[in-house]
């Protein structure tokens, strides 16, 4: 039986990470926040499904990801085609973000969703390959090959790119920055 108070503290401690992962897979702060909210409620409702002592972040990420693919993606398909959606699926730049990382953000946005997700889980969120495979519900070898392909692709894209020119996708960044303003309240 999971202790509710400790569970709540753990949820609180994971909010920032959950939100970052949600932003990275929805590409939109408002939708990410709705996704995090649903995830928190589901996690709370199913808290006894969590085994104390295991990695709660991995458990929460799994719920968030399943919620995204079962509910949110269906909903988003109703309003926009996949191509438009895919181009926005990038990690957001906060308004004060480093400009010199912009090329990298654009390159990241061009990766296929499954490759970007695997790369973020292992390369940025600190999960092991095994944990990432569990979160994504796929084989270990699949995660490894997605990450290898993602790294190779980023290496290609970024080696030939310097400065402002990054092809036809350059405009999409303005849209991302605009969408960002409606989400988190900062001063």
């Amino acid at each position: 039986m999971t202790d509710p108070d400790r569970f709540k503290d753990a949820l609180l401690a994971e909010l920032q990470s959950l939100r970052a992962f949600a932003i990275s897979i929805t590409g939109n702060v408002e939708r990410a926040d709705d996704l995090v909210q649903d995830t928190v409620v589901k996690a709370w409702t199913n808290m006894n499904g969590y085994t104390e002592g295991t990695n709660i972040r991995a458990w929460l990420f799994t719920i968030l990801r399943n919620t995204f693919y079962s509910d949110f993606r269906k909903r988003s398909r109703e309003v926009e085609d996949d191509g438009a959606h895919a181009s926005r699926l990038a990690v957001h730049a906060p308004q004060h973000g480093h400009m010199d990382l912009e090329d990298f953000r654009r390159a990241l946005a061009q990766l296929p969703d499954d490759q970007r997700e695997a790369l973020i889980l292992v390369g940025a969120s600190g999960f092991s390959y095994e944990e990432a495979a569990e979160i994504c519900g796929c084989a270990l070898g699949t995660i490894k090959s997605r990450i290898n392909r993602a790294r190779a692709r980023l290496g290609e894209m970024l080696s030939v790119t310097s400065g402002a020119d990054f092809g036809p996708d350059a405009d999409s960044y303005a849209a991302l920055a605009g969408a960002d303003g409606g989400g988190a309240k900062t001063d």
């Binding site: 990275s24 928190v40 409620v41 990690v91 990382l101 990298f104 990241l108 940025a124 970024l158």
Partner: protein, 77 residues
């Protein structure tokens, strides 16, 4: 040298060329390290975003007997 920003992949490749003379597995390592550090830098910016108050109130509204529905359909914004 100013080291406040992660090296770009282009920098890394140039550096690798200078030391290796040509494209090599070692050069690829340098490139992959640059990709890794930029990925973390980009993602950390997002992780550090302040969490909106709605989540703090959501958490404090949860009590010891979870009975809320799992779907948040009615909270359309």
């Amino acid at each position: 040298m100013d080291r406040h920003k992660p090296a770009t992949v282009v920098d890394a490749r140039q550096e690798a060329r200078q030391t290796d003379g040509a494209q090599s597995p070692a050069g690829d390592d340098v490139v992959q390290q640059a990709i890794g550090s930029q990925l973390r830098a980009v993602y950390d910016e997002v992780v550090r975003l302040p969490v909106p108050d709605r989540f703090l109130s959501l958490l404090s509204s949860l009590d010891g007997r979870p009975t809320l529905p799992a779907s948040g359909k009615e909270q359309e914004s």
